[in-house]
């Protein structure tokens, strides 16, 4: 059952199909995050993107993130679908749905999931721009995590705590 909560697909994602997976009678909130292809990054124009994944391991890593979320926010349920292949500007690359009895946990857990995807899920993005193409992720400022599990302290506090709402 948990396997179809976490999906890598080469087909367009329908967000409602992802949020339906986490719908439950005890939920009072579902947060739905759509990651979309941005045209301009620091002034540089992207024409389209290509995503590549190690699909079987990506699903395992997403399941691990789901487990981490259950440990931190016990009453939440998470579903993630990530698209691979060629994506055009504004296409949906990733959809994250989190349901929870109360909204705060659903918001926090959802943001946690996208931060963790960017750290430990084997998916790579290649940007095709006006000046050619390049794989993203080997920038000099990127940190590596030999254990595949960055410490929670590595995730910016602002991404985890929203005490001042």
């Amino acid at each position: 059952m948990s396997s179809n909560l976490f999906v890598i697909t080469d087909q367009p994602i329908k967000p409602e199909e992802v949020s339906d997976k986490v719908k439950r009678r005890e939920a009072g909130a579902i947060t739905l995050f759509l990651g979309t292809v941005r045209e301009l990054t620091y002034g540089k124009r992207t024409l389209y993107l290509e995503y590549e994944a190690y699909p079987s391991m990506a699903v395992k890593q997403l399941e691990m993130i789901g487990q981490e979320v259950r440990e931190r926010w016990p009453d939440t349920l998470v579903a993630v679908t990530h698209r691979i292949g060629r994506l055009e500007i504004s296409d949906i690359a990733v959809v994250i749905a989190v349901s929870s009895p109360h909204r705060k946990a659903a918001y926090e857990a959802n943001e946690y999931v996208i931060e963790r995807i960017k750290q430990i899920v084997p998916i790579w993005k290649k940007e095709y721009g006006e000046d050619g193409s390049e794989w993203i992720g080997d920038q000099l400022n990127q940190k590596t995590y030999p254990e595949g599990r960055p410490l929670l302290e590595d995730i910016p506090k602002d991404d985890l705590n929203h005490e001042e709402e």
Binding site: G35, Y54, K60, I136, G137, Y145, E147
Partner: protein, 76 residues
């Protein structure tokens, strides 16, 4: 040993997967061996997964294991 390469690495090596007669050996010595066979491959910051699990440098890779070379990820 089956080797899987992703992102820029599969382009530098010219193939997404390879079969090499190697192992058992540690991750650290595998990386050295791989560097000497494929000097063009940029392995800085590359993480290693064995049978779909991230492993440390001292992990022992078996001759029939699947080793994935994973550049820093950029999903989402």
């Amino acid at each position: 040993m089956k080797i899987l390469c992703f992102a820029h690495l599969s382009e530098q090596i010219g193939s997404p997967s390879l079969e090499l007669e190697l192992g058992p050996m540690t991750v650290a010595s595998f990386v050295e061996e791989f560097k000497s066979r494929y000097p063009n491959a940029r392995l800085d910051q590359v993480m290693i997964a064995v049978n779909e699990q991230f492993v440390e440098e001292d992990h022992l890779i078996g001759a029939n294991d699947t080793v994935a070379l994973l550049p820093p990820v950029s999903g989402g």
